[in-house]
């Protein structure tokens, strides 16, 4: 299906086209179309239940694991439709890392957490694993805090450290895209600041899509902001413009706190 490919702007990493999503009979996303630029931070904002998380999870097909979920439309990543039949989900998820709202370290050692992905993908060499673990933890700004206790259980880390560990774990499989579902919503301000610094740090190398409830956070960390409401994409544009001169009334109402 060559004519379905969108071989235009190399700066566009993810191209969403006419995306519909249903939980059973309930439609959660309506005809979403948007481009997500490479190596930029795109924030998804909107009131609870507007479909932000569902949309995020559509980008690495995590919605597949829900019974009765149905998707139509297409999502092109590097010009490849990830909803085409016969797509390799494993390599898709290797390319698209994900960090969840509630940090979910595995009840294993810090080392084993970060090495989990590489091991799954066949890295066996102990030295190579150690290298990947170190590099990923450094990248996630956690190395200095845990380098002396890599064999300790990850559940002993603080909430903020756990979330950075999850980021390190996602980075260990060398993704190109990082999906973050409210990564700082359960953290104290200090840990949140660290995560935001980290996002700022990572944007040079990764395409980041972040769901957030926090307007200030979206304004601080993102280049692009998309506002979703009741399953519809209301508006998308440069963050500055969306926050200062939104085109749509709905967006303005939400941003100024009139509802949500």
């Amino acid at each position: 299906m060559v004519d379905n490919k969108s071989n235009t702007d190399p700066e566009v990493k993810i191209r969403v086209k006419d995306l519909d999503f249903y939980y059973g009979n309930v439609q959660a996303l309506f005809n979403l179309t948007m481009d997500i630029p490479a190596r930029k931070v795109t924030a998804l904002i909107g009131p609870s239940g507007c479909g932000k998380s569902t949309f995020l999870r559509a980008l690495n097909r995590m919605n597949d694991i829900i019974d009765g979920a149905r998707t139509s439309g297409s999502v092109f990543i590097d010009d490849q439709d990830i909803y085409r039949n016969g797509i390799d989900i494993v390599s898709l998820r290797k390319k698209v890392g994900m960090v969840f709202q509630k940090s979910n370290p595995f009840p294993k050692s810090v080392f084993d957490n970060v090495a989990y992905g590489p091991r799954i993908h066949g890295v066996k060499n102990r030295r190579k694993l150690a290298e990947i673990v170190e590099r990923s933890l450094i990248r996630a700004a956690l190395w200095d805090e845990v380098k002396d206790r890599l064999d300790k259980n990850a559940m002993d880390l603080s909430g903020g450290q756990q979330q950075r560990l999850c980021i390190a774990r996602a980075l260990a499989i060398q993704p190109e895209i990082l999906l973050m579902d409210e990564p700082a919503s359960a953290l104290d301000p200090q840990s949140t600041a660290k995560i935001e610094d980290l996002i700022d740090e990572l944007r040079r190398d990764y395409t980041i899509v972040i769901v957030t409830h926090n307007m200030q956070q979206a304004a601080r960390v993102s280049d692009l902001t998309a506002f979703l409401y009741e399953g519809y994409l209301i508006e998308v544009g440069p963050t500055k413009q969306v926050f200062t001169k939104p085109h749509k009334k709905k967006t303005e109402d939400y941003i100024t706190g009139r509802f949500g």
Binding site: F100, F106, P107, Y116, I120, I173
Partner: protein, 283 residues
């Protein structure tokens, strides 16, 4: 004032009932210990029975029961775990899984003598295994499968969904996720099921009556197609079928004591193992 009295009375009533249960268990164990311990000796545990079990030991019954327990677990545990994994991780939840679960619950409620008859019909006669260890193990395995499946499913459900998602999001396949990030945390719960199963498999008489247990067989089995003696059945024989039932009273209690010790010993080992595994689990 009156509510306070009522409150205290209720509390005392509950407490009395709890103590009553402890009392029953303690008196059973004490009676068996009291009457059985004098008859337990090294000879009793390690030699063949003589004169239809009126003299000598119970070695073949001990060995027989151990074989049955090990064989039953070896059959039922993989089968039950696989079923539980399929039902809770793979199968689409709906009418199909509901029907299967109903069947499992029904299976748990079937009287054990019916399992005995089923084993006689299928394993002993139809499949031609004869009265043998393998027939007995398969019959007992059918009986304890529901216990293992139900507790394994519970153990799997106790693992938070976020751990599965975290693994899948890293590009792990479903099986890798289950194997590396679900099973390690649910093994302890699955062991609980096998603990209960072991207790039942070791103690039941009816299912082995028709499929494996020998009335009197003073030798050890050579293969899984041999008959064996088993402790519960031997106890039953000594207590009700033996021509000198009154005279062999101490042997009966001693046999009961050994059976009790065996079951409690196996349970204790499994419980200790579970505690060790559980210590490592935190979320």
């Amino acid at each position: 004032m009156r509510t306070a009295v009522l409150q205290r009375a209720t509390c005392w009533l509950m407490r009395a009932m709890t103590y009553f249960i402890v009392f029953i268990i303690a008196s059973i164990i004490l009676k068996i210990l009291w009457n059985g311990l004098p008859a337990v000796s090294w000879e009793f545990l390690t030699t063949m029975p003589r004169r239809s079990g009126a003299e000598g030991g119970i070695l073949p019954a001990i060995v027989g029961t151990l074989y049955l327990v090990v064989g039953t677990i070896a059959v039922a545990l993989p089968l039950g775990m696989a079923t539980a994994i399929y039902l809770s991780e793979y199968a689409k939840q709906g009418r199909f899984t509901r029907t299967i679960r109903l069947a499992i619950v029904t299976l748990a409620g079937v009287p054990s003598i019916v399992f005995g008859l089923f084993g006689l019909g299928l394993f002993v006669i139809f499949l031609g295994f004869g009265a043998s260890i393998i027939s007995g193990c398969l019959t007992l395995a059918c009986m304890i499968l529901p216990i293992i499946i139900v507790s394994s499913e519970e153990a799997l459900r106790a693992v938070p969904r976020s751990l599965r998602e975290g693994s899948l999001a890293l590009g792990a396949t479903k099986w890798q996720t289950i194997y590396k990030n679900v099973l390690p945390y649910s093994v302890s719960g699955m062991l609980t099921g096998s603990i209960l199963g072991i207790g039942r498999a070791a103690g039941e008489t009816a299912p082995i009556l028709l499929t494996v247990a020998a009335f009197y067989l003073p030798k050890l089995p050579r293969s899984i197609f041999d008959q064996v003696m088993a402790l519960p059945y031997h106890l039953y024989i000594l207590a009700t079928q033996h021509p000198e039932a009154d005279k062999v009273r101490p042997m009966q209690y001693a046999t009961a004591l050994v059976l009790l010790a065996l079951v409690l010993g196996v349970n204790l080992a499994a419980i200790l193992l579970r505690i060790r595994i559980r210590k490592k689990r935190r979320w």
